[in-house]
């Protein structure tokens, strides 16, 4: 996977490009600090970091319209921030505060942001794949041309929900874009040990009569270009697209994963293709950003995330009466004797 693509005339304006870099840096920083807070046990439960995969979310979500929808799995901080979620809300959620993006009820794996058309944060592997098709079904049903983009990992390729949904999405030409973030690992299981083939475009594209496109997920503008094409198809009523974004996760599966299954070398080599570093140097090459501006940007983001943490830490704990709130629209009647 080379970068030739990005040697072609850039497909984004300088402002957009810098905005994308900014978002990737924001996600990276958000998660580095989250890792710390997790170690300090201020964040609980399972916490899955996105570091190394930022270009997939930022590049693809970067070309969507405001009225499009985004849905993903439990490794969701990146997608939420890429969709414009305020890091304050995200961080407050991590700390389990009612000021959080899910009022402290969802946690790291269950981010939601209705205003941004961000439909979660779903932690049962594969379970959100049908939801995405349902969201797309609704657009079609209403005669609208907005689309739904759905992210999941290579491990989710093995869930039955994907199979059932892909057949219907293809049969009914639903305006949905499925992006498998192939980081080559399903937790500790390498791709070749959980999937009969390592070419997922066969399993997700050919197998369902959808275009299956392989893309370097660490090349943000390639990611954007391919997603844009998929959006055009979807909006034109030509149906779903399957995108295989090859990428790599720098950290363990979750905060509790020692990553014994990986050599230091492998990890180091991967870092050489850090999507942020790649994009920084590209933008520098283009003369779209210089060292100084870059430093300022890093600094700005540090501050932004520290403010988010401060906001989150100072936010009040949820009160007992919130426990029974939002179980249902109708008043929830606890069946407790």
């Amino acid at each position: 996977m080379s970068q030739t693509s990005t040697e072609a005339p850039p497909i984004v304006s300088r402002n957009t490009a810098v905005g994308w870099l900014r978002q990737m840096l924001q996600i990276r920083r958000f998660e580095e600090r989250s890792a710390k807070l997790y170690q300090e046990q201020k964040i609980g439960g399972f916490c899955h970091l996105y570091s190394g995969q930022e270009a997939v979310a930022v590049g693809s979500i970067g070309v969507l319209r405001e009225d499009d929808y985004v849905i993903t799995a439990y490794r969701d901080h990146g997608h939420a921030l890429a969709r414009g979620m305020d890091p304050k809300l995200g961080m407050a959620e991590m700390l389990g505060k009612s000021a959080g993006c899910s009022r402290g009820k969802g946690g790291s794996m269950h981010f939601f942001d209705a205003e941004k058309g961000f439909l979660g944060g779903h932690a049962i592997v594969g379970s959100h794949i049908p939801l995405a098709a349902g969201v797309a079904f609704a657009s079609k049903y209403r005669g609208q041309d907005n689309v739904c983009i759905c992210f999941f990992g290579d491990g989710a390729m093995d869930q039955g929900s994907l199979h059932e949904t892909f057949n219907m999405a293809s049969l009914w030409k639903l305006p949905v874009i499925y992006v498998v973030e192939n980081n080559l690992m399903s937790m500790g299981t390498h791709l070749h040990r959980h999937s009969w083939t390592t070419d997922l475009t066969i399993r997700g594209g050919t197998a369902y009569g959808m275009p299956g496109v392989l893309v370097d997920g660490n090349d943000i503008e390639e990611m954007a270009r391919i997603t844009r094409e998929a959006c055009l198809r979807a909006r034109a009523g030509e149906g779903p697209t399957f995108i295989e974004a090859k990428t790599y996760r720098f950290r363990g599966h979750s905060m509790s994963d020692p990553m014994k299954y990986r050599s230091k070398e492998e990890a180091e080599k991967a870092k050489e293709r850090d999507p942020i570093v790649l994009y920084e140097s590209l933008l520098k090459e283009r003369g779209w950003i210089d060292e100084q501006a870059l430093e300022d940007l890093h600094e700005k983001i540090k501050v932004e995330i520290e403010e988010a943490i401060e906001f989150a830490e100072n936010a009040p704990e949820p009160t007992a009466d919130e426990l029974y709130q939002d179980v249902s629209v109708a008043t929830h009647i606890p069946q407790e004797s």
Partner: protein, 327 residues
């Protein structure tokens, strides 16, 4: 008011709500061109077309999830399970997504969806096709579980379910589809969710039941009346949330209760209801609550065996006499 079958009443409910609100659609196996495996959706394709009456592949997990996704962005899907036995392959979607999305999103997303289809020990269908899954769903906070026993309730309850902004597990009974009864034609006829109904008044014993077992219970009540025992028969209608007030009001009057259900006995609906009655009015009870359930075995094919599994009038009569210390 006009006479209709339970099946027609269900269709009327869907028809009226689809006319009223374009956001309502019906999806499931054979609901459109086949007019429904049990003919509940008969004629709806002709009237509403393939945009709103949608035949699906045999992909319950998939189309249950498609319904949930569509509901999250404001549509009001009716998802038909050909029978509720087939909801088990979609179980995770109902229990994890439909039930939790609103709570996990802090109230940002709601799931106004109805999952409907018939269930029950319907006649020599064997173990895989005779499930009564109500207890499995009633256990889950976030879900509403409704089970109509009469044509009028079938219509009023389904209309209420479709208008509800929360996910509803709506379970019909295959053997009730042909039952006839008076059904209101008022387009706003709704049976409130969470309200039980006293289908027969009596002062000696309270029979608590739902779905097809109501028929069995009413027949038993007839017989018992002839023998001088007056049963009050309560049709739960909504299994979750339970209308405890209506139950307790009656039990406090009769001091005796028998629960009749087609569910399995252990950790089922009857046990759940009994536990709550004891907890609230233990001292009001003159006898332990008796229960008539399906027997604790997988459902056998042979009719001669199946007959023994389900609640019968005789069993109900016997248990009622038992709580009255008569024989």
């Amino acid at each position: 008011m006009a006479m209709s079958t339970y099946r027609e009443a269900l269709r009327q409910a869907m028809d009226e709500e689809m006319e009223r609100d374009d956001a309502v659609f019906l999806m499931g196996e054979e609901v459109a061109e086949y007019n429904g495996a049990y003919k509940v959706s008969q004629g709806l394709l002709d009237k509403y077309g393939p945009r709103r009456i949608i035949d699906s592949p045999i992909s319950e997990e998939g189309f249950a999830g498609i319904g949930i996704g569509a509901a999250m962005v404001g549509l009001r899907p009716i998802i038909e399970f050909m029978t509720y036995s087939f909801s088990l392959v979609a179980f995770d979607q109902l229990v994890n997504n439909a039930a939790n999305v609103r709570y996990m999103s802090g109230g940002q997303f709601t799931v106004p969806i109805v999952f409907r289809g018939n269930s029950g020990i319907a006649g020599a269908l064997g173990a895989t096709h005779s499930h009564r899954p109500e207890a499995l769903y009633a256990h889950i906070p976030g879900l509403t579980v409704m089970m109509p026993a009469t044509p009028a309730d079938a219509k009023g309850m389904l209309k209420a379910a479709i208008r509800s902004d929360d996910p509803v597990i709506f379970i019909e009974h295959e053997n009730l589809l042909g039952e006839k009864g008076e059904v209101p034609d008022d387009v706003d006829y709704l049976v409130p969710i969470g309200k039980a109904d006293v289908k027969r008044t009596g002062s000696d014993v309270t029979i608590i039941t739902y779905s097809r077992s109501l028929v069995t219970s009413l027949q038993a009540a007839e017989q018992l009346a002839a023998e001088g025992i007056e049963c009050e028969v309560i049709d739960l209608r909504t299994i979750r949330p339970l209308d405890l007030d209506t139950i307790l009001e009656s039990v406090v009057k009769t001091h005796r209760a028998v629960i009749v259900e087609e569910n399995w006995p252990y950790c089922g609906v009857g046990a759940g209801v009994a536990d709550r009655i004891y907890h609230k009015v233990f001292d009001e009870l003159d006898a332990p609550i008796k229960r008539v359930t399906s027997l604790d075995v997988p459902v056998p094919y042979a009719k001669s065996l199946e007959r023994l599994v389900i609640p019968s009038v005789e069993k109900v009569v016997a248990q009622v006499k038992d709580v009255c210390y008569r024989s």
